[in-house]
Symmetry: C2
Amino acid sequence: MNKLDESLLTSLPPFRNFSKTQIRTVLDLATPKRFGQELAVFTEGDPAKRFYLLLDGHIRVVRTTPNGDQIIVLHIAPGQLFGIAAAMRRDTYPATAMTADECLTLSWPNALWHKFAEDYPGFATENYKTVGERMGEVNNRVVEMATQHVEQRVACTLLRLINQNGKKVENGIAIDFPITRQNLSEMTGTTLHTVSRLLSAWQKEGIVASTRKRVAVTDPHRLVLISEAGI
Amino acid sequence: MNKLDESLLTSLPPFRNFSKTQIRTVLDLATPKRFGQELAVFTEGDPAKRFYLLLDGHIRVVRTTPNGDQIIVLHIAPGQLFGIAAAMRRDTYPATAMTADECLTLSWPNALWHKFAEDYPGFATENYKTVGERMGEVNNRVVEMATQHVEQRVACTLLRLINQNGKKVENGIAIDFPITRQNLSEMTGTTLHTVSRLLSAWQKEGIVASTRKRVAVTDPHRLVLISEAGI
DNA sequence: GCCCAAGTTTGTTGTAGAGCAATGTCGTGG
DNA sequence: CCACGACATTGCTCTACAACAAACTTGGGC
């Protein structure tokens, strides 16, 4: 068990404005856990017993079809809750959470969701707001998939990734966790081949810079143009 | 103003188990309204001031892209709440609600959401459950769009429609509101031409029976096969 | 009953992008 | 340090489906 600093939580939306003692209680009840890369925190269909907070690292939330196709539903960044099926009164997790890199999570039994919500007004509010935003994003994705070409969708996806998980580097903004062409294709509903071709082409034009498992955007503005018009 | 029967609400999930006087209060505070076909109940971007319950008819929830493409995000059946942006703490509606046929709605100012939730435990629970289910469905759609062919997607969409809005008729199960090829194409991310061709082909095979603005499924089982394998 | 607009059907053509296959490169573990 | 597996690139082919075009059908309004 790691020593947990109170300051870890006080800045996060769901726990903002909690009193010092309340934060301490929340931390006392939490179970911390470290994960290596590419491990499942929980699996689709498992009984939903706990909800999680990601303190460090990055999580991919993934669904698998009956034919074995896998698609990435959502990315979780540090400071966000995930596995909140409980809050939506589901009894099993609707998707699998995989670590994209080394992760540190806190988790609590579902029963505590209700306790937190009762004891600390603002907890539920903040989280339902998050759910609302995620709902908006996934609807955006449906619209994107229905109306845009592969090239535009990949551009949109990259832009979203650098917005939510971008880290400034010398030549642009990098996605700060490992991501393969395959992963990108699973987010856009295409094949790794097509993604590879697009990244190669964009690299030649100086729009992106990618290496194995890493992608950085060097010219976000051009990418926006592509995402809007397909050039 | 129509006389509102208490029995209208007592059977609906969000209000189930309310006391008789509670139901009466809910009804007293509600504003009923009738709509003709193809009218907007509220519009994307409008300030979200009220939330709605559909008593009769069918509602399409629609998003419009900057280029004017329109896609149907969700269908609302009688007895369901919609426009619950308030519950997700959004200040504008994220989509437009259009009537598919003649509709009767009740609506309440957003402030009452919180009152209902406080006064009547079970109201919030029931509704967040609904949100969770809708989230699951829209994620399913993303997966569908990412992995399935047009033929399969149209089949899936028809099956979902007859499940949620099906009415038994002599030769099968009909979608009990007007729906055009164009509408179906907006739900599946294709063109009305392709939908028309598919319906014609399926009609020849005796799988569906469609007329102008009406679609019925005569052989759901075959449609399931198509949705799964593409046949 | 007739007209018109909205909805539908059907044909043709062009192309985005999937599918397949072969080769190249990186980095990790023995 | 080497070998192997995982990841990536690239070329070729082929098809599903969008895009365009044009005629046909239906039903509601005058």
